[in-house]
Structure formats: structure tokens, C-alpha cells
Amino acid sequence: MDINLQVSIGNLTLKNPVTVASGTFGYGEEYSEYFDISELGAVTVKSLTLQPRLGNVPPRIVETPAGMLNAIGLQNVGIETYLKSKLPFLREKKCTIIANIYGTSVDEYVKLAELLEKEGGADAIEMNLSCPNVHDAKNKFKCPLIAQSPEWVEKYTLAVRSSVKLPLIVKLSPNITDITEPALSAERGGADAISIINTLLGMAINPETRKPKLKNVVGGLSGPAIRPVALKMVWDVSRTVKIPVIGMGGICTASDALEFLIAGARMVAIGSYLFRDPLAPIRIIQGLREYCLNNGIDDINKLIGSVIIE
């Protein structure tokens, strides 16, 4: 049986529904030593900013039960270096590229998106409106994320939507009472898809020193520990909006990925588990194909949102 694994986001067709979460795959070079990265539905690159960023002071990561906290702080090479030194590699490998962007103002998001479109730097743009690790220095622990304000989400999405034609994905935060509100705002703003979830805010303390284990004090929780939370949010949002949802949060196996697809995600992203098993995305693509084969499903799209609630 021929099985169709292709899915689409906006006018972009992807060879399968598996990508990687921004910030867990660099710009593709490292893990291309493990597998042919063009086999991914798309490569989602580390957040890009207008200027290079050094990120936060270490320690930046700490392991937690079934997961980890990170406070990297968007260390990245900056858009110029990405276009000059990172992009050619991804293009040479014939990858479909989702470029994740982060700005500190609407203008910065627009500039980044326009640059990417003009220079052919991406096949889709993912707006990171939800990084928990970049703060306003004056108000370190209370700075709201754009993704926490439905109004801002719509404004930011609309501004970028009006400036570029590339498929536009908005990445939202789980650190909110009702994630369907910013999701609806992103849809109204013209987004082609919604990525959920970014990391959950968390903290860890060393009782011996009484100091937080992260220099940044707080960080974002990822890994299988957050999977049920992510799954529930994917289910909530995919029933609420008409645009596709890209589901992520602790996906380690094909079975995990299937949960997200069945809940309503059109694509899934593998994040922290890559650190443990760089081959996880390839195993998952293979596992999805096998599941379809074993269950007589000829098109993966038939599985999306097929959850049976009795």
C-alpha cells in the first residue's frame, strides 16, 4: 500500500509531518552527521534575531524528572550570519526550512521576515512570541510574553502577515490561562499555522546552597514531563481554530507523535529528546509509516484530529 505522509501548511507541502523544535537542532549541521536531515518534513532552525546574541550566563540547563529546564536566552548567530554561513548548507541538503524569528518589537519581526523572504532564507517563518528566557532587565520576573496578550499576538501577526508572503507560523506559550485566545488572535492576524507549545516556566533550587540551579533563576521546562499538558493544549486549539496546529512538547516516540496527530496536530516537532537520541525523528517517521500500514490508513491526513471521545 502506498502511504501518503505529506501534509501542508499554508501553500507549503511537506514530505511528512515531522519537524524539530526550534533551539534543539541548531542550523542542521551537527545532526546531519547522524542522518540525512532532508528526510525531515522540515528543519526548524534556532531562533534568529537581527543582531547576534550571546545568551544568558551559565548554568543554563538543569535536568529535572523526565525533562529539563533551560534558560539559554536565544544565543544565536544573528540573521546576517545565518543567511551567509548557515543557509547554504541547509539549501545544499535540500531541506525544507522553517526559520524561527525573535524580535523585541513589531518592527524587528517585520524586518527579520522581510530579510528572510528577500534572501530566500526560509520556506516558512515561525514567529517566536513565547520565549520565556529573555527579560526586560528592569522587571526580570514579570515581563509578559507577547503570547500572553491576545491583542499583541494579533497585532504582531498582522504586521508580519502584511509584509511577507511566506507561510507564517505563530509559536505560542503554555504559560497562560486559556491558550485558545491567543490562538484565535493569531488566526485573525493571518497566521497559516500555530506551534504549541513552547516551554513551561519552571524553577529548581539546590538545597545545599539555597541558590537556584539556573543562573537566570527561572527557565523553560521541556521533555516528556510536559507531554500531557502539550497534548491537551493541542486538542483545545485544534478544535478552536481552522488553521493547522504544529504540536510539540515531550515527543520521544512514534506513539507519542501519534497522540498529537490524533488529538488534532497536522505536524509534530521533536525537541529535547533529540539530545538523548539524535535519530528520534527518523525513528518516528518510520513508526508513523508502520502504524498507517498496520491500520490500513493510506493517508496520514485521515488520522489528524481523529480522536474518539465517547
Binding site: 551537527e30 547522524y34 551559565p58 548554568p59 521533555g223 538523548r276
Partner: protein, 266 residues
């Protein structure tokens, strides 16, 4: 190049209180490994611990490598319960290696505690490349923690023992000995151990104008340079300050590129 290997544990011994040596069988890892590189071990098949554990390669054999580790947390505690004959998933070899430049006439190693781990392989490397046995300052908390002393003696190294409690050799710190050594200008120093020790070794080497390479330890998630968790502030060949990845640009650094003033305490 395949970097993920299911390895047979062919030896697993307690070598000092809380310290173990594990020999991992893999021709592929053995033939690719260089002194100073490390491996990432999957200590449990489940999600706790979630991440692999980075370990220096202690020695490189024809059909495998050994690691030397100290039990210091949940991951290493689980690792210590594995038995000879069991299999473990090993990722590696990873990271850069110790440079062994040929123009130096004297090779000195300063090892503190479990920081000795990468040095047996380095001694063998230096013997192979230069035919010279390095001199070693081997320091530890007490005589139990002077690891690999016998191995180094068998390799022909001149050894200075140092313990904090005076139970063997000089009572004090490794740097006490380093300061007193009268060595030629063309001396190259390799060090690994607690960060304050490395920093002081660096300072002394700077005064004495000796080139110094340090193998650094850092908490890391991926070991491959993508998570950006293990970084240290450094000035590499380009002029700009950068956050160098211990797993990728390191773990071995020329200590002059490290921005010591910007490294805070944990």
C-alpha cells in the same frame, strides 16, 4: 560516521571510594577516539534520568575505551549499578582532543581528583607521538583519591603526589608544586580538575610563559553543540567574545582563550 553504539560492558570496578572504572567494548569508538575526547552514556532506558551523561575517555584500547567516573548524582549512581556483561548505549567519541605539538621538550600534567580521567590516554598519546613520558602532578583530597598512580608509573611518568590532608605526598594543593617546578621554557601543561584549580594553573602558566590546555567539565544536554547549555565565555581565533560550547569547541581549551573574569561561581 556512526556515533551511536550499543556497547558491552566488559569491566566495571570500584577503584576508590565512590569511584569506578568501566570498560566499554566498541572497535568503532576505539578507532575513532583521540585523547581528550568524551562519550555520552545513556544510563537508563527510561526517562529518568532524561539526559545522557558525558564522560572523559580514560584509555583507548584496540577494541574499546574505558571511562573513570565519580558517583556524584542520580545518573552516576544508576551507572554504578550496571554489571559486566550488560549493554549500554554510548554516543561518541565527541568533542576536540588534546593537541600534542612536537616542538615542546617537556610535557607536564596537573590532575586534580577525578580530573585525572582523560590523562592516561593523553600520556599514551604523548608517548606515541613524542616518545617522552610526561611529568605529572597528581592531586587529591586524600590518598584514596590519587587515581591511576600505578598506571602512570608503569608508563614511566615522574609523579608528584599531593593530598589536601597529607595522607600521601605533599600536603596542600597541586599548584604549590607547580609553582616550585623549574622547567624549560618549551614546557606544555595539560590540566583537568576543579575549576578553581584550573584557573590557578592557568595563572601560574601565564607567569611562567608555558602553554596550557585545560579539559573542562560542564553540564550538557546534547554533547553535540545544539542545546547551547554547556557554554563558557571565550575569545576564540576570531576577535569577538563568544559563548564557546564545551562539547564542541572543547572540552579542551587553550586556557588563554577563556574569559576567566566572566566565569562566575555556580
Amino acid at each position: 560516521m556512526d556515533k551511536l553504539h550499543e556497547c558491552l560492558i566488559t569491566l566495571h570496578n570500584l577503584v576508590a571510594p565512590n569511584h569506578y572504572r568501566m570498560v566499554l567494548q566498541s572497535k568503532e569508538i576505539a578507532t575513532q577516539s583521540l585523547p581528550g575526547q568524551f562519550v555520552m552514556l545513556e544510563v537508563s532506558p527510561g526517562y529518568y534520568p532524561f539526559l545522557r551523561r558525558p564522560m572523559s575517555i580514560e584509555r583507548i584500547f584496540s577494541d574499546g575505551v574505558s571511562i573513570l567516573y565519580k558517583v556524584c548524582g542520580e545518573g552516576t549512581k544508576i551507572l554504578s549499578t550496571l554489571s559486566t556483561g550488560e549493554k549500554i548505549n554510548v554516543q561518541g567519541p565527541l568533542g576536540n582532543s588534546f593537541p600534542i605539538p612536537k616542538e615542546y621538550s617537556h610535557y607536564l600534567i596537573v590532575a586534580g581528583g577525578i580530573g585525572v580521567a582523560p590523562f592516561p590516554a593523553l600520556v599514551e598519546g604523548i608517548l606515541k607521538v613524542r616518545g617522552i613520558a610526561p611529568e605529572i602532578i597528581l592531586a587529591g583530597k586524600d590518598f584514596h583519591h590519587l587515581l591511576c598512580e600505578k598506571d602512570f608509573r608503569q608508563m614511566g611518568c615522574k609523579i608528584h603526589l599531593v593530598t589536601e590532608d597529607g595522607s600521601a605526598g605533599h600536603k596542600g594543593l597541586a599548584t604549590d608544586i607547580l609553582e616550585t617546578l623549574d622547567l624549560p621554557d618549551s614546557t606544555i601543561v595539560y590540566t583537568c580538575g576543579p575549576l578553581p584549580m584550573i584557573k590557578n594553573v592557568h595563572k601560574i602558566c601565564e607567569q611562567k610563559k608555558w602553554l596550557c590546555y585545560a579539559s573542562l567539565e560542564a553540564e550538557m544536554a546534547c554533547g553535540e553543540g545544539v542545546c547551547l547549555g554547556c557554554v563558557i565565555p571565550a575569545k576564540m581565533e576570531i576577535e569577538n567574545e563568544m559563548m564557546a560550547r564545551v562539547c564542541r569547541e572543547g572540552p579542551v581549551f587553550d586556557t588563554q582563550v577563556i574569559l576567566w573574569d566572566k566565569i562566575g561561581e555556580k
